[in-house]
């Protein structure tokens, strides 16, 4: 078990439109990587994306998953994105504890 190290996982769900801006924050606040999957969603701002064509792709949802070793960095990312975008733009964020191999990668 000495193999595994605690790390913090952050999940950000935002409109694709602001994906790159959010990813920039993620990298600036010290994350070494991220994984992005596309999807559709629903929330306070209504339905996002659909199977039908014709919706500006910028409105579909991206799920950004970031793992950082340093809890403080995780909170910085979370709070920066939230304060900068979540007043005007749709989106949510949550954090979770996970176990990783090779702590140096995170």
């Amino acid at each position: 078990m000495t193999l595994f190290h605690k790390a913090t996982k952050i999940v950000l769900v935002v409109e694709r439109l602001i994906r790159d801006k959010v990813l920039a924050i993620v990298e600036n606040e010290g994350a070494k990587g991220y994984t992005v999957t596309e999807g559709v969603g629903k929330g306070a701002h209504g339905l996002h994306g659909s199977d039908r064509p014709g919706i500006a792709p910028g409105f579909t949802i991206v799920r950004i998953e970031v793992i950082v070793a340093d809890r403080a960095a995780a909170e910085r990312i979370t709070e920066t994105v939230a304060s900068r975008y979540f007043k005007e733009y749709p989106g949510i964020v949550y954090m979770d504890q996970v176990e990783v191999l090779r702590l140096d990668k995170f």
Partner: protein
């Protein structure tokens, strides 16, 4: 009276034509709950094909055209784009229980131009044998961009008034560049550049042209399905939008027809060109507009403006606007 009769005639004959027929067909099967969907990648490719073809033909023609004759129509296009937004914003932001940002964004979409409506009008003019300058469709960006800009700037100023803070001023340049970079506009401009500076005649004749009508018929089908699918969203927002979405296309179109007529008298702008100018003004942006406005007026609710444009604006522009302006042209220019 005559107009109405002519219009009725043209309208009925249009109903039979693929363009309108596929649009209505799309609305109907969507209303019947069909699961038919055209893949999104196909939709995006069709839009690209239509716009680059329009651009290619415009570009090839502009070579011969004397640019002077383009100036006045282009100027009118700008005026119409901005004018429609200013008036629309004035009205919508004063109506009861409408969010200001939603009003600006909606006015912006209806001031802007729908590439698909434009393409539909081009096909109808061909079928009716009404000629137009191949560069006329290239007036698109001259109306589209200023309209979107005007909406974003007005919204920015209003926001500043409300909660102070640093305004949108700074980003105007960014917004212009952004909208020029939009996939729709850049496909059109790319086509124009290729048509203007290179010899694409062969491939246009053998590939782009022959596919134009067919792809348009599929696009109309998609727009019809979309129109119905988004009605529900629209229903959720204030009914004023629906009202505005029915009236403004015709008002904008008729105003444009008037200015087009002036250009016809002054610089010999062709009857077909006048119709296209009217159709552009009467159309509401369905492709390039929404993302630009989403970025420029984040406070606005996309369901409101996209719904109004896609569910009501475009169908009205295609089904009523085009036949109306064609009938009007046949009357005015007695064709």
């Amino acid at each position: 009276m005559d107009v109405l009769l002519d219009f009725a005639a043209t309208f009925l004959s249009q109903l039979q034509k693929p363009t309108l027929a596929f649009l209505i067909g799309g609305v109907i099967i969507a209303a019947l709950g069909s699961n038919l969907t055209i893949p999104d990648s196909i939709y995006r490719f069709i839009v690209f094909m239509l716009l680059i073809t329009i651009g290619l033909e415009a570009g090839m023609e502009i070579r011969q055209a004397d640019l002077v004759s383009m100036l006045l129509p282009a100027l009118f296009a700008v005026i119409l784009g901005i004018g429609a937004v200013v008036i629309g914003a004035f009205v919508l932001t004063r109506l009861p229980k409408l969010k200001a940002d939603d009003g600006y964004a909606t006015a912006g979409l209806f001031g802007a131009v729908s590439a698909s409506t434009l393409a539909a009008a081009m096909v109808v003019l061909d079928e009716e044998g009404i000629p137009f300058e191949a560069w006329a469709p290239a007036l698109y960006p001259f109306m589209d961009l200023p309209a979107l800009l005007a909406a974003i700037i007005l919204a920015g100023i209003a926001r500043q008034r409300r909660d102070g803070g640093d305004g949108a001023k700074a980003d105007i340049k960014a917004i212009i560049i952004d909208s020029l970079r939009g996939s729709a506009i850049s496909a059109l401009l790319l086509g124009m550049a290729l048509g203007l500076f290179t010899q694409p005649g062969g491939v246009v004749e053998s590939f782009y042209d022959p596919l134009f009508r067919g792809l348009l018929s599929i696009l109309m089908l998609i727009l019809g399905m979309e129109a119905w699918a988004r009605l529900s969203e629209l229903a959720k927002v204030a009914h004023w939008y629906a009202t505005y979405a029915v009236i403004s296309p015709l008002v904008h179109g008729l105003a444009a027809f008037g200015l087009g007529y002036v250009a016809h008298v002054l610089t010999g702008f062709s009857p077909g060109g006048v119709v296209l100018l009217a159709v552009m003004a009467g159309s509401s942006s369905d492709i390039s507009g929404p993302p630009t406005l989403r970025a420029g007026i984040p406070g606005a609710n996309p369901s409101a403006y996209i719904g109004a444009s896609t569910s009501v604006g475009t169908p009205v522009a295609v089904a009523i606007g085009i036949p109306l302006f064609v009938a009007l042209a046949q009357l005015v220019f007695d064709l």
